[in-house]
Amino acid sequence: MQMPTPNAAVLSKKARIVERLQSVLPEDAVIHDPTETRAYECDALTAYKCPPLAAVLPASTEEVAAVLKICHEEGVPVVPRGSGTSLAGGALPTADSVILGVARLNAVLETDYDNRFIRVQTGRTNLSVTGAVEENDFFYAPDPSSQLACAIAGNIGMNSGGAHCLKYGVTTNNLLGVTMVLMDGTVVELGGAHLDAGGLDLLGVVCGSEGQLGVVTEATLRILRKPEGARPVLMGFDSNEVAGACVSDIIKAGVLPVAIEFMDRPCIEASEAFAHAGYPLCEALLIVEVEGSPAEIDEQLGLILQIARNHNPVELRESKSPEESAKIWLGRKSAFGAMGQINDYMCLDGTIPVSSLPLVLRRIGEMSKEYGLDVANVFHAGDGNMHPLILFDANKPGDLERCEALGADILKLCVEVGGCLTGEHGVGIEKRDLMTSQFTAEDIEAQLWVKDVFDPAWLLNPAKVFPLGATESRRAA
């Protein structure tokens, strides 16, 4: 993975930069010792590492503004970092960059149940946002798998999704407003407790901009009342095609489940060996969950089971109790861990039109054979967001490269059938060089205009999202 050559002028004035940062932050909030900056050398894409020049941990919007102002004046690239759980390398530093971590910005600023929002500092973790309103039976809907650890700042940066997007949408659909610091230190407010933009939807373009337009320090998030209950069913089929057709029929029937999860045979076998959830060993398995009052759940599940029966399932298991629900979810929730037990794996994130599911699964199977690497599929089927897991051996020379090549081919296939490279993880560095398979030069140029306007000096997270060749002249300017 190519990264830009560090700016020698910046490297040579490290002492001065650190001194200036120390003048606006508490002593323990500026990390510059090479043994300590190593803690920030990578995020959850651990294949790539580079310690930053320094890392700072501001505790207020004012401190963030002071840091950015200094970095702007000194021409230092800044890499914003939430909790460092990015699977795409969104928080990977360069040697000449300052990591701006939001971990100390973790307060709840306001909860308003009448108007159904919560205002938090963005270093707060996703799950702890729900934690703050749970006692009143409210929740924050986007639920990325990393929700125990990942920060709202990163969720906004990547426009994170989760398993329940089919009903509740992703981060951008649940984000009402932000306080954001621009690269020159100016603080701006976008949105608020009201709905929609009064002019151009700047909030909409900030969400998902991977920390390249500004540093979001506070967020107003929509909270929802918890449903009265939720219950899943598990269904097994003897082919991916039939499972795919069943998903399509459920959606067409007018039921809107909160989640439809799909696992294929390699994944079922691995998670069964690991978690012993009692899953049937079949070709494809669906978990479909619906919400509402007990009677509403019965009605919806009745309809879903009827549709499933039309597809001759090899197994149909309806949960009758919270214990049975937990058992149905157990294997799915253990899937990644189960894979990690057997092997190193790389998790992809392409999205495809649901109608292409059978074709894509078949092609992935063929590619897996061509490359000689196993692929297990576990994903959100309702919205077409695939998570193929490519198994490889990091200690075997050439395996990582082969895995990356297979991953690139799978993502190109997703684009080919009308989908996209990434559904919820973001581009980061991981998919940066694949952008040209989805976008023309003109499509990319229009996105760069937005960065030109928000960050004319191109200092915020500059080596991400776009192919380096497309941004070189701007970064050098």
């Binding site: 151009l200 967001n385 989908g419």
Partner: protein
Amino acid sequence: MTPVNEAELAEAVAAAKGPLAVRGGGTRPIGRPVVGEPLSVAELSGIELYEPGALTIVVKAGTPLAEIEAALAAENQRLAFEPIDHRGLLGTTGEPTIGGVVAANVSGPRRIQVGAARDHLLGVRFVDGTGTIIKNGGRVMKNVTGYDLVKLMAGSFGTLGVLSEVSLKVLPKTDVIASLRIQGLTDAGAVRAMSQALGSPFEVSGAAHISGEAGQGAITLIRVEGFEASVAYRLAQLTELLVGAEGEITHLTDPAKVRTLWRGVRDVEPLHDHAGDIWRLSVKPSDAPGIVSRMPDGTRVVYDWGGGLIWAATAPGTDLRAEIGPYHGHATLIRASEATRAALPVFQPEPVRLAAISQGLRQKFDPRGILNQGLMG
């Protein structure tokens, strides 16, 4: 100019010698008066792709909304964000197009439950101010590949580019619809009741309040949709929840009547007979009654979105923002004479730095400043 395909549209923009006034169906003449040669996308029409099983539809920008709604209804689906038909309120005729819906980011009562037009917009193709064709987003529901220009285009009123094609998320139509009606609530009481309903687990899909005059004739409406048994259950639960509130509660269950009633809320029918100006405010719901109380005497209002959306009918030429003083949110002057729309900012004035960012974006997407020049101020 009336190009018939995207390539012709791109050529027309590239060859333009002066300002262009971009039009879809011409039913939503919102914004500051625009001078320029008319450029219509009405001939870029037709459904490109509709996959009911994937909940997505791809259409050319000039496609009549009615054609899309009919195609979706045939599969028992719909555009869930319930776009308002502005014709009654703005006194326009013609066919609303999907491009206009997207360009103005128009939604209806169900916005409170399922999101706005921008939340259902999955992808766009458009022509920028130099005549270059650009695409963003796609036709899948989860997509974080690159910047989200889709959101930027929604509600940009043709000032960043001319839409040629859009893809949208669609949702299943519901079986049954019903409504609670509470009569005689004050504005503050109504917002409290609507907040209670929206904060309940009973999946309210609309919460509106039509203010009474001198405390008479006020009506508050709470809508639920879904499967039959579920609707009946939720109606009963909501009644129990709100029984403490003042006002008389009745159940409206005749589907045709409930639909007509909510179409009236969507299209702001109670203000259609008003001769003056129409403003639209987006605010924090609990702030709404206070804001309305600061409006000039005689202002008639309709609340939607649980109080978060205020439609206000004022005397012609009223600077409503000045009358109500500082508040959080935004106000748009939806209907007024050309003179008033030239004199007052139609869109909420932005703080200096944000205005500079918006201006900077327009300059990048339309360097010659020819697309609906000045429409958004």
